[in-house]
């Protein structure tokens, strides 16, 4: 049986091919409901995956741009080591600018932990230098060696140890989303196969009559494949629309770094769930085709 002929039969305007299969039966409801529910879940899995993707990119970009030098030294050496560090940075290739954070800025950074009235001048707080890199970046290992000599209390923090686990977590989340989509597709295929098997078993008399009057197995299989594929597409279309509506109703994100409020689609991504009814149709097509061919072979 040719796959192309089967696909053509699905979109044929002649509905005769699947009219030979009675429309009634719980398998019709089961197929529409299953594909609808699975499409609904897939919309969320897709949103999760895309949100994780965006988050990984954002965290990566934000942290990659930010490099800090922390100078911890006794009070009488702090100013000298800060000055020495700035001199090293001025002669380091790849450093676009370097700036010592003021007491006010440091106080602002500490406020979430110690409150706004922290007496920063009385505390042994390290001095922070913020560095902006050029596009080419600098040699972190070389800079560390130079700082070790010129300012032993200076520690270069390029945030690699923060960035890596965050990026890794976001990538895992994206993988989880994709795995969910694959599992949902597999579960849909299994459910539709079961429904098709049930429909074939319930229509044994129809199959016998069709064979009696000269229908080939491919004609009979095509009738079931067309019916189930169209049901799966219609169910998935409903599920996709409901899923997209639910995503649309999620609260708007005010801070793009907060993950849970960023679950959703952005601009062109809204088109991506629209492919789900088509994919449900493809899954139903192959699942029903497999079930029909196997059942008809057994009936021979």
């Amino acid at each position: 049986m040719s796959i192309l002929a089967d696909i053509a039969a699905i979109f044929s305007r002649d509905g005769q091919s699947d009219r030979v299969v009675p429309k009634t039966g719980y398998t019709a409801t089961l197929t529409v409901f299953t594909s609808g529910a699975m499409a609904f879940l897939t919309v969320f899995a897709l949103a999760l995956s895309l949100a994780a993707d965006r988050l990984a990119d954002r965290w990566g970009e934000d942290l990659a741009k930010s490099v800090t030098i922390r100078i911890s030294a006794p009070d009488n050496q702090l100013a000298a080591q800060t000055s020495a560090t700035m001199k090293v940075l001025e002669t380091t290739t790849g450093v676009a600018s370097a700036r010592v954070l003021s007491d006010a800025e440091q106080q602002e950074l500490l406020a979430p932990w110690f409150g706004p009235d922290v007496p920063i001048a009385d505390l042994p707080i390290p001095r922070l230098i913020e560095i902006k890199e050029t596009d080419a970046g600098f040699d972190a290992a070389g800079l560390r060696l130079r700082l070790q000599v010129e300012a032993p209390g200076a520690v270069l923090d390029d945030h690699t140890r923060w960035r890596q686990p965050l990026t890794l977590a976001a990538e895992r989340l994206r993988l989880l989303g994709m795995t969910s989509i694959i599992l949902i597709a597999g579960a849909t295929a299994a459910m539709i196969t079961l429904a098709a098997n049930a429909a074939l078993a319930a229509n044994l008399q129809v199959i016998r009559v069709l064979r009696l009057i000269g229908a080939s197995d491919s004609y009979i299989a095509r009738a079931f494949v067309r019916r189930f594929t169209l049901r799966a597409i219609s169910g998935a279309l409903g599920g996709t629309i409901l899923g997209m509506s639910a995503i649309l109703l999620l609260p708007e994100s005010t801070d793009d770094k907060i993950f849970l409020t960023g679950l959703g689609f952005q601009s062109g991504q809204w088109a991506s769930p629209l492919v789900l009814p088509f994919l449900a149709g493809v899954v139903a097509f192959f699942a029903t085709r497999f079930a029909s061919n196997r059942a008809l072979r057994k009936l021979s």
């Binding site: 009219r19 030979v20 429309k23 064979r211 009696l212 080939s216 197995d217």
Partner: protein, 225 residues
């Protein structure tokens, strides 16, 4: 058309037929008779390939039945009209759709078939019942519809299994006249029946060969028929 050479059929270790040698020539008319349960329906199934002989050779349109795959068999069946005792319709389709179904399966243009279909439905006297669903039809109407469906593709062979089993004498005579008419058009006819009166009535209209199933063999019936 259909030929058996030393053919036999066993089921569950029990032989229903053995050593069957029979040839149904084009345009011939046959009756197959014998008591109920002797295997008339089984033999008809061998004739249209639903069953295959477990010994010997059966050929359909010159081809060995055993060597035909499912698709080839489906094509061959489009040239065999079968009228079943229980008619076997698709109950969710109308009578019109049921009768026209073989042409749809063959991929014929429905518009071109429409005149042929209308004529055939009138021929079997069901023009007023085209919209009815099979469960709404009487026994006689169902048998006539089954006959119409069997001949819509103008097959060379028509096999009928107890076609008058569920109808009164008047209707059985009407069905018989339709089958005789088809035979005069050159169709090969095989009717399985235990109704000896029907066979006697037919022999006044057509030269028919009467076969009897007895002792696992198919034999030519005697002069009493």
């Amino acid at each position: 058309m259909i030929e058996f050479k030393g053919a036999g059929y066993s089921y569950g270790g029990k032989a229903l037929f053995s050593q069957v040698d029979l040839e149904m020539a084009p345009g011939s008319f046959h009756f197959l008779t014998g008591p109920s349960g002797v295997g008339k329906s089984t033999f008809l199934k061998l004739c249209y390939g639903e069953l295959r002989p477990t010994e010997g050779l059966a050929t359909l349109f010159g081809r060995d039945l055993g060597s035909m795959n499912r698709d080839e068999l489906a094509v061959a069946r489009q040239n065999i009209g079968v009228v079943h005792q229980d008619c076997q319709f698709l109950d969710h389709l109308s009578l019109y759709e049921n009768i026209g179904l073989p042409t749809a399966i063959a991929g014929n243009d429905p518009l071109k078939e429409q005149a042929n279909l209308d004529e055939l439905i009138s021929w079997v006297g069901l023009a007023e019942r085209v919209s009815a669903k099979p469960p709404e039809l009487s026994g006689g109407e169902r048998q006539r519809a089954a006959l119409a469906r069997a001949v819509i593709m103008s097959p060379d062979i028509i096999l009928a299994d107890e076609p008058t089993g569920n109808v009164d004498w008047e209707m059985s005579q009407k069905l018989l006249r339709l089958l005789v008419e088809l035979n005069r058009m050159g169709k090969t006819i095989l009717i399985a029946t235990h109704d000896l009166a029907l066979i006697r009535a037919a022999k006044t209209h057509v030269q028919a060969r009467v076969l009897r199933i007895s002792d696992n063999r198919i034999q030519l019936a005697g002069a009493d028929l």
